[in-house]
């Protein structure tokens, strides 16, 4: 069994070609990202809201407590440090708001991708305006480019959302000072938008106005689209097909939202509304993440705060990654009602859209009402994105919007010398332990040393495997803790050996009998002592956060390894040795010779057993 365990761990290491543990921030360095809150008028956000954001972000980056990531406030900004380089992508996900809504689909239409390709491809100058209006077969973007006087006029109400998105584009004019570019990013939440912006950016004269609008927009997220929306009138009002043309049943749809829907052009990623905070109490026109469909969505009947817990997993019988949700009791009721309603509705109203940060990530058909408060979200996830989304949902939506104001790769805080010093010192210390065990316990010392070797091997392989599969990262305190706990593991052997010697001293038993009787007694002591350690580890792991939780994890791990080694290696090994003449006859070098332990037959009465 022990061999199987070691082989399994070693095999995993071999398969994943991972032979070294992942190191923490202090040893490996990492990526530091500064997030600035986006507020109206650049006002400082209330302290307590910022604190809440810090806690949620901390949970998201280090929910398991073992990733050694750090989150700190710096003035109004939040600084996140994640170990390992190239983690800015991860941090980007962490900083998204993660507002989740479940909305019944009221109407939907595919995006005419071919035409859009035709328009966009040859004219990457496609202007901030061309994209705003709608997705249905419109001429090229030339007209808008030639009429760039993006007048910040009307459509404010009806096209609030699309304008919100389109207003972002112009602000990213590369000719402008970087500060403005950053402001533009305030609204943009994903890289896709960044690219589109780049393409649009070499546009045209009329961007002055648009830029102003973009900045306003960046400051006043919540007012997005209600003022200063630079929809160019010529294109904005042209070519809008009536709902009937698209085969949409306008029944029960807010006309304003419908108009918005008609204008929505999902082919352009900048217009998909990524990062928009949709009001859950209003109907909403939204795009699918990949832009393939657009939707009119009902008010949100179930929202992110109704979720009790979320986890990522593979759907049974498939290889598809899904995010599984458990709703709180209120949420479960609402979810049951929502799915019942959708189930009873005709196509396309039999769909429920899952809207994350303003974008539909999936809109499955409801093939039966779903009571019981469970749901699964699919939508082209891989393991990483499913896990990230699950973490975002589990720890709740951020109360603030953030943009990344700086991303730095930082070196380790500790020199390599500290790590090497620690390891060398640890090895020296363990060597001393080995020498001491051999001198004191002689033959038995070999058992102790071998047990320590086995414990070390299991610890090392576990740490490597956990590092590559669960994100466990070792910081220097962890390494020292592991070295120390290997020393504590030796205590289990000592307890056992002393018991064996007790039994032998009494002179009543053969070694083979003594090994068994002593084991029964030693086992109880070892289990109670290890239980105490394990309780400490569990309580601290679940209640503390950050470094303490990570350390508790390491503590629990070594305690388990201690038990595994003593039960599966030390005890069986000694039982085998007890059959050897060398030990059974009490050879002077075996550590069990009667003469050296005690004059066993002199009738001393100080052993506690005779008390």
């Amino acid at each position: 069994m022990l061999v199987a365990l070691i082989l399994a761990l070693g095999g995993t290491m071999f398969l994943q070609k991972a032979y070294t543990p992942k190191l923490g921030l202090d040893l490996a360095g990492g990526t530091t990202v500064t997030l600035s809150p986006v507020t109206q008028n650049n006002a400082a956000p209330p302290e307590e809201i910022l604190d809440r954001a810090v806690n949620i972000i901390r949970d998201r980056v280090n929910g398991t407590g073992i990733s050694d990531a750090e989150v700190a406030k710096s003035g109004d900004n939040i600084i996140i440090s994640i170990p390992g380089v190239g983690q800015s992508e991860a941090i980007k996900l962490v900083a998204t708001t993660a507002e989740l809504r479940f909305r019944q689909v009221l109407a939907m239409a595919p995006t005419q991708v071919p035409q859009e390709l035709a328009t966009n491809a040859p004219t990457p100058t496609a202007s901030p305006t061309g994209s705003a209006p709608d997705g249905s077969a419109r001429p090229s973007a030339e007209p808008s480019a030639s009429q760039p006087s993006a007048s910040p006029t009307g459509k404010a109400l009806s096209s609030a959302l699309t304008n919100g998105a389109s207003a972002k584009s112009p602000a990213a004019d590369p000719t402008e000072p970087p500060a403005q570019g950053r402001n533009g990013q305030n609204t943009g939440q994903n890289a896709g938008q960044g690219k589109t912006r780049g393409e649009n950016a070499d546009a045209d004269q009329g961007q002055k106005n648009a830029q102003n609008a973009g900045q306003n927009n960046a400051r006043g997220q919540n007012q997005k689209g209600q003022n200063a929306t630079p929809t160019p009138s010529p294109t904005g009002q042209s070519g809008t097909p009536s709902p009937e043309e698209l085969g949409i049943d306008p029944n029960g749809i807010d006309p304003a939202v419908l108009q918005q829907f008609n204008k929505l052009d999902c082919a352009n990623p900048a217009n998909r509304g990524q990062g928009v905070q949709d009001d859950p109490n209003k109907q909403y026109a939204a795009c699918e993440t990949d832009g393939s469909f657009k939707y009119v969505l009902d008010v949100a009947k179930v929202v992110g705060t109704d979720i009790d817990t979320a986890s990522a997993g593979v759907r049974q019988g498939t290889i598809e990654w899904v995010v599984q949700l458990d709703f709180k009791s209120n949420g479960a009721t609402a979810w049951g009602k929502l799915t019942q309603e959708a189930y009873n509705s005709p196509e396309p109203r039999n769909k429920v859209a899952v809207v994350l940060d303003g974008v539909v990530i999936t809109a499955p058909n409801i093939i039966s009402p779903i009571p019981g408060g469970r749901a699964e979200i699919t939508g082209g996830f891989d393991q990483a994105s499913a896990t990230t989304l699950a973490d975002q949902l589990k720890y709740g939506a951020l109360p603030l919007k953030f943009n990344r104001s700086s991303v730095d790769t930082v070196s380790s805080t500790l020199g390599q010398d500290q790590l090497e010093g620690g390891l060398i010192a640890g090895l020296i210390g363990l060597a001393l332990v080995v020498v001491y065990c051999l001198l004191y316990y002689r033959g038995l010392g070999i058992v102790a040393v071998l047990s320590l070797v086995v414990a070390t091997v299991i610890t090392y392989t576990s740490v490597v495997v956990l590092g590559h599969n669960a994100g466990f990262r070792l910081s220097l305190p962890h390494i020292i803790g592991l070295v120390v706990s290997i020393g504590i593991t030796a205590d289990s052997f000592i307890v056992y050996f002393e018991r064996i010697r007790d039994e032998m001293k009494e002179g009543r038993r053969t070694l083979r009998a003594a090994v068994e009787v002593a084991w029964v007694r030693a086992r109880r002591t070892i289990l109670i002592a290890d239980a105490v350690m394990f309780i400490a580890a569990i309580v601290l792991y679940f209640l503390a956060v950050g470094g303490v939780a990570g350390f508790a994890f390491a503590m629990g791990l070594t305690t388990l390894i201690d038990i595994v080694v003593v039960f599966l290696f030390t005890k069986p090994f000694i039982a085998v040795l007890a059959k050897l003449k060398f030990f059974a006859k009490g050879h002077p070098l075996s550590g069990l010779d009667a003469e050296r332990m005690s004059d066993a037959h002199s009738g001393r009465t100080t052993t506690p057993q005779e008390a």
């Binding site: 202090d26 360095g29 530091t32 604190d51 901390r58 700190a72 003035g75 440090s81 730095d408 790769t409 930082v410 070196s411 380790s412 500790l414 020199g415 010093g421 620690g422 010192a425 020296i428 210390g429 332990v433 065990c437 004191y440 220097l476 305190p477 020292i480 803790g481 070295v483 120390v484 020393g487 504590i488 205590d491 307890v495 002393e498 001293k505 007694r521 002591t525 109670i528 002592a529 105490v532 309780i535 400490a536 309580v539 601290l540 209640l543 503390a544 956060v545 950050g546 470094g547 303490v548 350390f551 508790a552 503590m555 050296r596 332990m597 005690s598 001393r604 100080t606 506690p608 008390a611």
Partner: protein
Amino acid sequence: MGLGRRLYRGEIDVDFVGKWRLWYSLSGILLLISILGLLINGLNLGVEFRGGTVFSFKAPQATVEQVRETVIGEGAHQAIVQSAGDGWRVTTENLAENTTTQVQSEIAKEYNVPVGQISIQSIGPSWGGEVSQKAWIGLGVFMLAIILYLSMAFEPKMALSAIVALIHDLVITAGIYAWSGFEVTPATLLGFLTILGYSLYDAVVVFDMIKEVTAKLGHTSKQTYSMAANNALNHTLIRSLNTSLVAILPVAAILFIGTTLLGAGTLKDLSLALFVGMIVGTYSSICVATPLLVTLKEREPKYQAIARRLASTGGGKGGGNKKSAAVANG
């Protein structure tokens, strides 16, 4: 027969329990000194707990040591130096305004950087209120859980004694940090947590033996609880010493290398806490937890009765004293 040989054979018999007055006063004095230290000096908390000032600047030709020296030379006590791209990021404790300016101008002079390009930010604690608060809650719940568990596995009085010994160890270790002024970093804190586990572990092994021995005490017993407990203590003494030695050897090696070869750093912070904590932990499991347990148990009518009976027959007057003296002589 030499001491080593007697230790090896488990024939040592020291009256630990009987000397409780000595241990109590020793521990009392240590605790008092530690608490005074904590009250007067307080702990020198690191940047991670208090927040601090971050200097960022570009100086491609500088080395980590140079940058650290420059910053420390101007009056900062702590400096965490990181390279960020071709620039540097130095985190210090919260500096007074003029110190900040000094550091800034010194960096400018030393590395030929315009003062305007040295950015200064204040940073909040990464181990701020929330993290510490949760750690304290965790600790509280942990103690309750341990009391419950030990009460079931052993008995409530043993649980109480073990926890008192644990707090004793933590306070004294913290006291040493207060008086020495060593910086308390997250690494130190993790060292404290290790001590916590270690101290309990040690006490549990000793109590397990005491429980086994004293379970046999009956009305006709020839031993008082004190004597039996002391006997058990002596019996596990060799184990306690061996265990401590085996656990302390690696820590001592780390402390030695950390202080002599590497100077200040995480290694020193962590290993000092462990080193002190383990020594105090070994001491307390023998000299604090057990005598305290005995003091509590001797009040129980059952053991009072045994003590009275033995006292009247002259068998064991004065607790374990006489008997152990006799054995030690014999």
